[in-house]
């Protein structure tokens, strides 16, 4: 069972990384325009319109 001593904290650290990543994405405004992001991906940067 000694394996738990580092496996469980490793699992928690991974979860915490996910949480921090989400909070960062929220802070950087990535959820401000959900519909727009879905449409922007359709545009071609290298084609002049």
């Amino acid at each position: 069972m000694n394996v738990l001593i580092y496996l469980v904290p490793a699992a928690l650290a991974l979860g915490l990384t996910g949480l921090v990543a989400f909070l960062w994405s929220l802070k950087s405004g990535q959820y401000d325009d959900m519909d727009g992001a879905a449409l922007r991906i359709l545009g071609d940067d290298d084609v002049a319109d």
């Binding site: 738990l4 699992a11 949480l19 929220l26 325009d33 519909d35 449409l39 545009g43 319109d49």
Partner: protein, 742 residues
């Protein structure tokens, strides 16, 4: 006269760049995003342009020395998008900040709930052969996650519960906070004593579920508010202000007392004021409900929202609300708002019953177990387990989820809610009172006898009317058939002030204007409230009658409302002769005309005294106090600003159908709220005895709580079903906005 547009009130400056937000109309697809951003970024001086597709707002940063704000708007106009400068009000910014906070809380609670559940499931499944040290290790880890997470993610509930307690009231957040705190506290002492059961997972999962409901509720409210904000930007009026000898176009909101403004024929008066010179007739239907026009000359006081009909006026702006009528309305409004009893919402009523019962049950459990000889420790643990399992997860989700889904359904049928408790109050009404002018009738007058006039002739008249700024011509111009290619004005049309407009069409002279201007003699006199405009094309001629027309589906809606068992009534500020035909057309027996704002309130109070619950639908400034006095109120989007601020909900459509849809959706929503409350009660009726007997292990608590939450949420989704409107059409919000704009 050349005239500049001054947008400085909307522009913010930072580090040498100017920043402005525009509400853009007609953004429909992926191509629009690229087109708008691309064309702006190509302009010299524009640093950044970013369109938010979700709320249709465009943020632009640019160097003001290189390009002016007006040119940005002109550039957008050039590629086919109308843009209106937009200023977020403080409440919207505040809500955006709180919404973000709720999502952060949700993320923290979600992380904590998932990881603690991971540990808890291991403890439950290994309950038999897990060494005690491992179990304690898992419990301590859970505590390490749960305590900081609950301290952060529980804030919305703790704060709200604290506010309620300080006001000596109970709301749903009081039992929630108590349940969470006791669950955490008990689990901590149990863990310290190497005991088998800890409830860290229940506490965090509870927070997670409840935050889901709250965040959704908030997101829905923000969505409707964003649309309402864009509509306000689109409705914002501009005024022609004299800066010395020059005229400058400024937003009406930027006018100050003492400013002099020019009001041309066809313009809406931008602010309250006194006429300095000029004389004209003004249409005050949005202010008083009266459809006959009033003559004004120098010295007369006129109100914002009136439409200038014939002559050009110069106006000195007076402090807002200084006219006698406005004064009276403000006074009545204050009184009506003060008299309004605070509505106790269903959730708070349920909480008022629920909290004492639950807390008493827990106390009795404690006493009961002590009485049968259990140890103090066991008795306390069981009592707290009762509190945890009854913690109103389902109860606190039962109403907000229905609220979110119903608000979404209303939003799709073109109704924007202003008040949070509007749905519950709407469901209770038994009487609907309509204002006439602008509510039962369309806000702008229409040609009444369009059907009697030959189609081609009417089409020419309508196209010629595009060249005139006169309000009567604007009514004629509305007769242009939709989709016809002839929507451009005739070339070379000349407007003769005070008489009409003329042009040569295919070599034949056409005139639109007063009968004399068109050479028509002996016109039959018409009833007051109706205006004449004549059209001549060569030898053919026609006299068009312009008056307020009923909304297209007014009669159907009146019948549909009666079918719902509601009593209908008309209270109008207009003269009796004008109200009677409308009442007859709609088959509404009880109506009163020529009412002052105070008399409208008196009529509503009389109904209230009979125990009736009144829905008031009105748009005029004179309706504002009546809207505040009624149990619940609705306004069309064309209503005066003061009035719209009083209304609990606003509908966007040109039709009256949304009034019926609103009531149907609200009634169904309230039925679902009640069902959900009963589901929660049944859940408790099963779960509480289990807990009292001491069988509520953490596993059972977790299963019961998530099961009941999912059940009420699924039931709430039924409020999404279409409202099956009488006309079978639900106005799409965006469509309605577009229709208004064109």
């Amino acid at each position: 006269m050349a005239e500049t547009l001054d947008l400085s009130t909307f522009v913010q400056h930072q580090d040498g760049t100017a920043h402005m937000v525009l509400a853009v109309e007609g953004v429909a697809c992926a191509a629009c995003v690229r087109k708008i951003e691309g064309s702006l970024k190509r302009l010299p001086g524009v640093v950044e342009a970013r369109l938010n597709f979700t709320n249709r707002r465009l943020a632009v940063d640019w160097h003001e020395e290189e390009i002016a704000a007006v040119d940005l708007i002109a550039a957008l106009e050039g590629i086919g998008y109308r843009a209106h400068p937009f200023q977020a009000d403080s409440s919207e910014t505040e809500e955006a900040r709180y919404a973000r906070f709720l999502v952060k809380c949700l993320a923290v609670a979600g992380f904590a709930a998932m990881n603690i559940m991971l540990l808890s499931v291991s403890v439950w499944s290994g309950a038999v052969d897990m060494p005690q040290e491992t179990r304690d290790f898992f419990h301590w880890l859970s505590a390490l996650i749960a305590l900081p997470a609950a301290a952060y993610a529980g804030q919305p509930f703790f704060q709200s519960a604290w506010r309620a307690l300080r006001a000596r009231a109970l709301n749903m957040d009081v039992p929630i906070s108590l349940g969470v705190l006791l669950a955490l506290g008990m689990s901590l002492t149990e863990t310290a004593h190497h005991a088998q059961h800890a409830y860290f997972d229940s506490a965090t999962m509870l927070l997670f579920f409840l935050l889901c409901g709250r965040a959704l509720d908030h997101a829905m409210r923000r969505k409707t508010r964003a649309v309402a904000g864009n509509l306000a930007a689109l409705k914002a009026e501009f005024a022609h202000r004299f800066d010395g000898p020059e005229l400058v176009r400024v937003p009406a909101a930027a006018l100050k007392p003492g400013d002099r403004v020019l009001v041309r024929p066809g313009d809406r008066v931008p602010a309250d004021g006194v006429v300095l010179n000029g004389s004209s007739e003004i249409d005050e239907s949005l202010v008083t409900g009266e459809t006959a026009r009033r003559s004004v000359a120098a010295g007369a006081a006129i109100h914002a929202g009136s439409v200038n009909f014939s002559g050009t006026l110069t106006l000195r702006v007076t402090a807002a609300g200084s006219g006698t009528l406005i004064d009276e309305i403000e006074r009545l409004l204050e009184k009506a708002v003060a008299a309004r009893s605070r509505y106790v919402r269903l959730a708070d009523r349920a909480a008022g019953l629920y909290a004492p019962v639950v807390h008493a049950t827990a106390a009795l459990t404690l006493v009961g177990w002590l009485a049968v000889g259990a140890s103090a420790h066991d008795a306390i643990v069981t009592a707290i387990a009762v509190l945890i399992i009854t913690c109103p997860c389902a109860l606190a989700l039962a109403i907000p989820t229905v609220q979110v889904v119903a608000a979404g359904a209303l939003f799709r049928s073109g109704v924007i809610l202003n008040a949070g408790d509007a749905i519950e109050r709407l469901a209770e009404i038994d009487t609907v009172i309509f204002d006439k002018t602008g509510t039962l009738t369309l806000p702008e007058p229409r040609v009444a006898n369009a059907r009697d006039i030959e189609g081609a002739l009417l089409a020419r008249a309508a196209r010629l009317a595009l060249s005139s700024r006169h309000p009567l011509a604007a009514a004629v111009a509305k007769e242009i058939g939709k989709g016809s290619q002839t929507r451009t004005p005739f070339e070379g049309a000349v407007e003769e002030p005070g008489q009409g407009v003329r042009a040569m069409i295919d070599g034949v002279e056409a005139r639109l204007g007063s009968p004399a201007f068109c050479g028509i003699a002996n016109v039959d006199p018409v009833a007051s409230g109706t205006s004449l405009i004549a059209f001549r094309y060569g030898a053919a001629s026609a006299v068009l009658l312009v008056r307020q027309a009923l909304r297209r589906d007014a009669a159907e809606t009146a019948a549909a409302l009666r079918a719902l068992g509601l009593d209908l009534m008309i209270l109008s500020g207009d003269r009796d002769e004008a109200v009677a035909p409308i009442a007859r057309a709609l088959d509404i027996a009880s109506w009163r005309g020529a009412l002052k704002p105070a008399e409208k309130i008196a009529a509503i109070d009389a109904l209230k005294a009979q125990g009736r619950r009144v829905l008031m639908v009105g748009d005029g400034l004179n309706d504002a106090p009546a809207l505040a006095a009624a149990h619940i109120s609705l306004s069309p989007i064309s209503a005066a600003d003061v009035t719209q601020a009083q209304a609990d909900a606003v509908f966007l459509s040109e039709r009256l159908g949304p009034v019926r849809d609103t009531i149907v959706i609200a009634r169904r929503a309230r039925a679902l709220m009640r069902q959900n409350l009963w589901l929660a009660v049944i859940y408790n009726a099963i779960a509480v005895p289990v807990a009292i007997l001491g069988f509520a292990t953490p596993l059972i608590a977790a299963a019961a709580m998530s099961g009941s939450s999912v059940l009420v949420t699924l039931n709430a989704l039924r409020a999404r079903l279409p409202a099956c409107s009488a006309a079978g059409v639900t106005a799409d919000v965006e469509g309605a906005i577009e229709a208004r704009a064109s």
